[in-house]
Symmetry: C2
């Protein structure tokens, strides 16, 4: 019999159907056996009773076995309906079982609460849990919504290379790759230089792809490889145009995933120095001389934005020139500070962006200031020799965004197969 | 005045507007000056006459300068309309020019036909050409259509890591990365192992992302880094289910980009040995003992499919077990050959796919057969211990697909910033 997807069972009441599924739960009750079955479209309960030959097979089934089940779709009596459960108002009366694939005995129930290392060691099982499935389904919907809104706004997607010839931003936290001709290559820490080149081609561009940071962090918010949601566009007035588009993107994502993010019409904005003055005044801890925000300060500002503006987001602008990469635009009216921003969400920075330099001579000056050799940037610098409008954009980590949207403790819970100092799938031993 | 996008000029006839754009073409004709302007949404012609002060500025403008132009949108007289040209029925009568950003003198006109190395050396300019813009706009639409049809079919997108702990397929053509703890990591040649794990999670999955091949090829069809369009799904009968979904994907892409691909209701299918027998019979050159198709044979088969079936595509199935990776499913009814396929498009293989092994013990056997150590695959193998349905999928290079759809000579013309033996943006010197 042709396969029926579980999501379509409700349209087949009183009919005989065949589903193909995993055994999610198996409960042997002597003369009866109950199951939850799972396919890519949903869950349904099944029951065997009064059929000794079927029951005999049913008693062998274990969680994660793969089966083809034939049965009749019964409507449940009103008082037996499981409210809020997938297909809670129907039940499959099983008349035939075919085992497609057995599973070994599982090390633990996939939905058990586990410590993070056990969870990561066993991802081919633990990703099948309800929590992980919800997380990564949401993540798929976030990236879909991200591309959707930018396509609507006339942005063109492009594919950025990950193998690059130089440590472009001079930050030093790059992975080295053995390339051809005894040359080294590096893994891109961002598509920054390419998206600026592409502004010259399409004016408005975006890119979604992996980036790499060889940082020896082991925290709940850092990853050595993550998915970067990038955008860049031309003919801006200044960084506030970039912030406005990003605000629209966030609203669209929140709507698309039916999220609970609080986003006011305009997200509150504060200069870094204003934020530091406020924190110092309110907490008594002087941070006005620091070049950046500490994690605790980011949390404080988010709580403040929620309390004062009913906003889960807050923009912090005007980071010092010394703390931003060479391509960052200095504010003519606030020398020493940049037209750049971080966007904080629920206590953590999730986006960095701003206006970029667009003048060729200015690039030569900036590169030298940062101790970088313009020669190494000659390919990229062509874009500015060839005429570039004022432009800007942002980069945003998909995994951290997913984490904060779902209020997960650790970014690794929002990352498929996280790469970290101590792990590539399995733990690295010394 | 607020900026008007060029695509909206036709709605502003007889009005004064301001556009922001690049100078695409500048023609000084003494008392008049003509321009083509380009923004992210289109092209428009502009003209200056009878305004000496505006003309003075206009005469300075050069290609790729970035400008803000104020002017009146005039409808052209019937006989002056440029048919088939963007905004060919209107003209901008320029009343004001503001230069936002100058360009240096260009090394050549961006639309000049160039040899491939000059084209690649100058991509920040040459990508602005009409041909390149068309190519990469089409590429953006291909990947959009790819995700669209798979989302419609209930596939879930996932993000695959590019840093991997092992040379998973044992092919040896992998880039090595210096990882932490004095360990080496590698760049993934495909998301194969991860997409199989993800079938256990969502049943139907897809992924779009870069993959890496450290092959010392220098041809018109190979790249060392490319964008792989992957999909994988469970509960298949055999590889023909995979071919059927892939056929739908191709039809949707062709329709979405308004392409000219010839795709019959069912794409013709031939076993490798049948194809070789046919080629040998028709050309007199015996290739029946070869384990794979030569490029000339792929071209011959494509010509055959076009002539006999009016199809730009042809599936070749049943490659020998010895030529396919360890996870490939052997045909029980045709021992020694696999339930795998290549899809040829206009003379070139653009997709490889098939059914995969789903039984754990079979994996142990296959890995040993290929001389691979199951220990190195222990993380991945959990998926099969945990219950996996019969499944299959494909991988397809976005750049090669773009190349063949647009009939470009070289895959590098369909690749943004191609990585090859001799080049990462700039040429590598010995």
């Amino acid at each position: 019999m042709e396969r029926t997807y579980i999501q379509n069972l409700k349209d087949n009441v009183d009919k005989e159907v065949t589903i193909s599924a995993w055994v999610d739960v198996a409960r042997d009750q002597g003369k009866m056996a109950f199951f939850d079955f799972r396919d890519g479209t949903g869950f349904v309960q099944g029951v065997v009773f009064g059929k000794p030959d079927v029951l005999e097979v049913a008693k062998k089934l274990r969680p994660e076995w793969v089966v083809s089940i034939t049965g009749k779709v019964n409507k449940r009596p009103e008082k037996m309906v499981n409210e809020g459960v997938d297909n809670g108002d129907i039940e499959l009366e099983i008349t035939g079982i075919e085992v497609l694939s057995e599973a070994h005995e599982l090390p633990f129930d996939k939905d058990t609460e586990l410590n993070i290392d056990t969870y990561l060691d066993n991802m081919p099982l633990t990703l099948r849990s309800e929590k992980a499935r919800k997380t990564f389904k949401t993540q798929a919907n976030i990236i879909k919504a991200y591309r959707e809104i930018l396509n609507e706004k006339g942005f063109t997607e492009f594919q950025a290379p990950k193998l690059v010839g130089d440590d472009a931003e001079g930050g030093g936290n790059v992975f080295k790759v053995e390339y051809f001709k005894d040359k080294d290559a590096y893994l891109a820490t961002s598509p920054q230089l390419y998206k600026q080149i592409m502004v010259g081609v399409f004016e408005k561009v975006f890119s979604t792809g992996n980036v790499f940071r060889a940082e020896k962090h082991s925290t709940t918010r850092h990853l050595n490889e993550y998915t970067s949601l990038d955008a860049e566009f031309g003919f801006i007035k200044d960084h506030t145009d970039v912030m406005a588009v990003l605000t629209d993107v966030m609203k669209h994502i929140n709507k698309s995933i039916d999220g609970d993010l609080k986003i006011p019409e305009e997200i509150p904005v504060m200069k870094l120095r204003e934020a530091q003055a406020l924190i110092s005044k309110e907490t008594g801890e002087d941070c006005t001389e620091e070049p950046d925000l500490e994690p605790a300060h980011e949390r404080w500002l988010s709580e403040y934005a929620l309390k004062e503006f009913n906003s889960d987001f807050i923009f912090i602008t005007h980071y010092p020139v010394s703390k931003r990469p060479f391509y960052t635009y200095e504010d003519e009216d606030d020398k020493g500070f940049t037209k750049s921003f971080d966007l904080l969400l629920r206590g953590v920075e999730i986006t960095t962006g701003g206006q970029r330099v667009h003048n060729y001579d200015e690039y030569l000056r900036k590169l030298k200031e940062k101790g970088l050799n313009p020669e190494g940037f000659s390919f990229y610098l062509q874009a500015f020799k060839n005429g570039m409008p004022p432009h800007g954009g942002w980069g945003m980590g998909l995994e951290r965004l997913t984490q904060k949207i779902l209020n997960l403790d650790n970014v690794k819970e929002a990352t498929l197969f996280p790469r970290e100092m101590n792990r590539i799938d399995t733990l690295l031993t010394d």
